[in-house]
Symmetry: C2
Subunit: 183 residues, 2 copies
């Protein structure tokens, strides 16, 4: 593995790190494992990314595709968001869990907080108006995060086995309820 161009090695490390962090989390993943999985060695990992933590922060990023939310009618925003969130693929779920489990580390915690703000709160707030738009967006984000907590962190087997349509309808109605300003 000597003649490999730099960009390839860097990318191989990036991909190996991303996969291992998602599967095992920050603490249990070692620089040696990443190097082995990338067909490289520990020194290269550090040389390319400065430290294990920086590699983690570079690979563990979550974004959301706004469009389904921006395009949805206001009165179906709750259902739409829950549908989006339940449909999140395994990769993004791994990133979320890695951030949560690793958030003992201050830098990782900061990333988790920013992600909560950018992925959940901000897209909602953009669709709301009125004096308490901000607090309503934050409360709704809490409710959505609660579902993620139950499904992925605590792993409530009953909810995991519940029909998706039911969950979207019932939980979505709840989110809708916080989003709607008091009459």
């Amino acid at each position: 593995m000597q003649g490999k161009p730099a960009t390839s090695t860097r990318q191989a490390i990036h991909e190996a790190g991303s996969a291992l962090f998602r599967q095992q989390g920050y603490a249990k993943t070692t620089v040696r494992q990443i190097a082995a999985a990338a067909g490289s060695d520990p020194a290269l990992v550090i040389r390319h990314f400065k430290s294990k933590e920086l590699l983690f922060l570079e690979t563990m990023q979550l974004t959301i595709d706004d469009e389904p939310l921006l395009g949805a009618p206001l009165e179906h925003l709750g259902e739409r968001l829950i549908d989006l969130v339940i449909g999140i693929d395994g990769g993004a779920r791994g990133v979320f869990l890695a951030l949560v489990h690793g958030s003992n580390e201050p830098e990782i915690h900061k990333r988790l907080t920013d992600t909560h703000e950018n992925v959940l709160i901000e897209p909602l707030r953009r669709r709301l108006s009125g004096p308490d738009a901000d607090i309503r967006a934050r409360l709704a984000a809490s409710v959505v995060a609660g579902l993620l907590y139950s499904l992925w962190i605590a792993r409530d087997e009953t909810l995991l086995a519940t029909d998706r349509t039911t969950l979207v309808a019932r939980y979505g109605a709840l989110v809708q309820h916080v989003l709607t300003p008091a009459a």
Copy 2:
């Protein structure tokens, strides 16, 4: 520290471990730190508790005082629960966070799942009736967990700074909404 009775040493280790796990989490707390804080040594920690993990599981336990919930009128259950949960003291909060952060470890994850079931879901289900009592209790537990997530895990500064009464009223109404059977 030679003449100390066994029960004292054991208890000192128990207390030191409990405090350190709550403050620093599982991964960052070492057996050596626990021993030092207890005025003892690493060998005694293992001798008394078999392993670091078993000491963690023995010290990191959460329970809830049911009475305020059992005594509350059904139509104020939501508010009552949110009031209870927001008032949780720093010690219990530390235990919760240690369980969440440590839940990469299978045994710790099991403890977190059990705690979710026993502390949130079960007390609610006991107050509900009807065919979908179970699912309503689980959805309500999700909503409550969402608040814990926002306040303690993601640490939404705006929500943390929000007046307790407002939070109890608004978020409690939401919980109440899931708890109430569809008309």
